[in-house]
Symmetry: C2
Subunit: 315 residues, 2 copies
DNA sequence: TAGGATTGCTGTACCGGATTAGTAAAGCGG
DNA sequence: CCGCTTTACTAATCCGGTACAGCAATCCTA
């Protein structure tokens, strides 16, 4: 009997099955920029968790909020059993459609999105503040005092939090953040390059860059300026180590646990899909990892001495 | 009446709808490596075409052939109306599952996959041979005679075709390809770097690299070797210009019309989804574009002259 | 104005399974 | 060996729509 079924190549019609059971055994992962190097590992983690639970994972792209709204509608129409969003870090977007989806539809979990702690859905966060503090501390521990920062856009919470972490670390070391040592970029290569050019007159000996691609730009700027890295300038980046993989020298990076984020998000959504409506909400914040590579070195007096005039001391 | 429907937020159950109509108004795009910089534009093109036709586009990942097989099963189970595959360029994979899907299920179209001309599905191809010939001709026209080539893996048809185009261009110019000017890489940065190091003793004045990331590696190698680009070595890459976006100098690249490939693939699959089973098969080959940037320059005698001994002439 | 054609609406049979009720067969203890 | 419970299989109903048939009402033309 079973052999016959197999021989005839029978496959139950999942549409009919889903219509009857009201479950599709499918989770959807909504991503914004396909190019973002953080996605592949997130997908990896989520996919593994889903397969382990016997669920399928579908992907959908949503380049902007409007597309996200549409995409979510489509996925709800397809009756997915769960929704994972890893999208925009923009601050002032309207998230009402997420709440509506979560209310009427399947469980929703967001990764790295700016939502209040008491938002009615599970959240996976990265510790941008702590990571930035970690980066800055490293530079402080190496003896640097004039530590510049190229921040992400202030319209993104990632940019804001990282800057806040940087400033907190400085203050904890008794250093008042210097306006002239701060620049803002837009996460692009060019903005990173321009930022370091602009900062250079303030004579930083170390630099914490709030984004991986911007760090590549800063590295280029250092070469433009004839500044040796790490001899004349120590550099720490924040972001995906894979994105800066081909840079020379290898950039010391604050790494985000993205695979784990994907896994946790999937597990979260799967649990809720199985257990029915559980009103409790989880907000988990994942710690960053420091990946020491070649762009960080102890502060050396010689550079300062070789300059025309030593900068006014600040301590 | 319609207002009431709207106010109550009624949405027809697509599962039931699809079960009854046997159509899901959904196309699936199967991708292998999420990191591949060619995907975003393909997605762009395919998505636009699908939306224009009122279809939804879903994504699914399939890192290897086994995963691809599974993924296709899942998508067939979901009763998608069409399947676009843009996956592996490996030569000796078993494509039987594709044919089976096409036979029993929705129309299938492949982008850049090694299949015989008479395979029972639509194909979108890139003119790897022509593009490589175009690249090599450019270098020939600039006066170069010692043109090296870093080929992709011979286990990939992309690697083979590009190498063939390179050799054809040389022969057409009366130059017999020189074994010592040929190296094979695996499309990785490191292999490109190592390849140019290995080729250097053969004194090339120009280099055609069969892959974008390998070209970055070659560029690095040139710097390792103290060779100025393009002064001492002209360089043309094959692949996605975006992938080498941040390289200095800007790498002259043979560009693939990926957006168009996505669009054509979607249109193809949509047409078949609508028109029913049409036994004719289309194989379309898309021409490449030459993107002139900064790594190509005319051959200058001075370099040869400055060398210890001129290479044995070949023409 | 009658007859045939077009239009509009209602009713019913599916689509392909899951679920549950219903029934027959088998198992069990007394 | 009988009556009751357990197990096995069959039949009916439902999931939420689509599609087509059937019929009444309206329209057109000769």
């Amino acid at each position: 009997m079973l052999a016959t079924i197999d021989r005839l190549g029978y496959r139950p019609n999942r549409l009919a099955q889903s219509l009857a059971t009201n479950r599709t055994r499918t989770i959807a992962l909504v991503i914004s920029e396909l190019t973002n190097s953080l996605y592949p590992p997130v997908l990896l983690g989520a996919e593994a968790a889903c397969r382990a639970a016997g669920y399928d994972l579908l992907l959908a792209s949503a380049p902007d909020v409007e597309a996200e709204r549409r995409t979510i509608e489509v996925l709800l129409d397809k009756r997915v059993d769960g929704l994972i969003l890893f999208s925009s870090s923009v601050l002032d977007i309207d998230n009402e459609h997420l709440f509506r989806a979560q209310r009427a539809g399947p469980p929703v979990v967001v990764i790295n999105r700016h939502l209040p702690d008491d938002a009615p859905l599970d959240q996976i966060r990265f510790d941008h503040f702590g990571g930035a503090r970690q980066a800055t501390r490293l530079l402080l521990d190496l003896g640097h005092r004039r530590i510049a920062h190229i921040a992400g856009p202030s319209g993104r919470f990632t940019g804001r939090l990282r800057r806040a972490g940087y400033e907190a670390a400085l203050r904890a070391a008794g250093i008042e953040p210097d306006r002239r040592l701060l620049a803002e970029g837009d996460y692009s290569f060019e903005s990173g390059r321009a930022a370091l050019h602009a900062l250079w007159s303030a004579r930083p000996t170390a630099l914490f860059v709030g984004g991986d691609v911007m760090a590549l730009g800063a590295l280029r700027a250092a070469r433009d300026l004839g500044a040796g890295v790490p001899d004349d300038l120590s550099l720490v980046a924040f972001g995906n180590p894979d994105a800066v993989r081909y840079a020379v020298p290898g950039i010391t990076t604050i790494d985000l646990p993205v695979v784990e984020a994907g896994r946790l998000a999937a597990e979260s959504v799967l649990r809720r899909a199985a257990d029915g409506r559980d009103p409790t909400r989880e907000v988990r914040t994942l710690a960053t990892n420091l990946l020491l590579r070649e762009t960080t070195a102890s502060f050396q007096w010689r550079e300062e001495a070789s300059e025309a005039a030593p900068a006014a001391g600040e301590s």
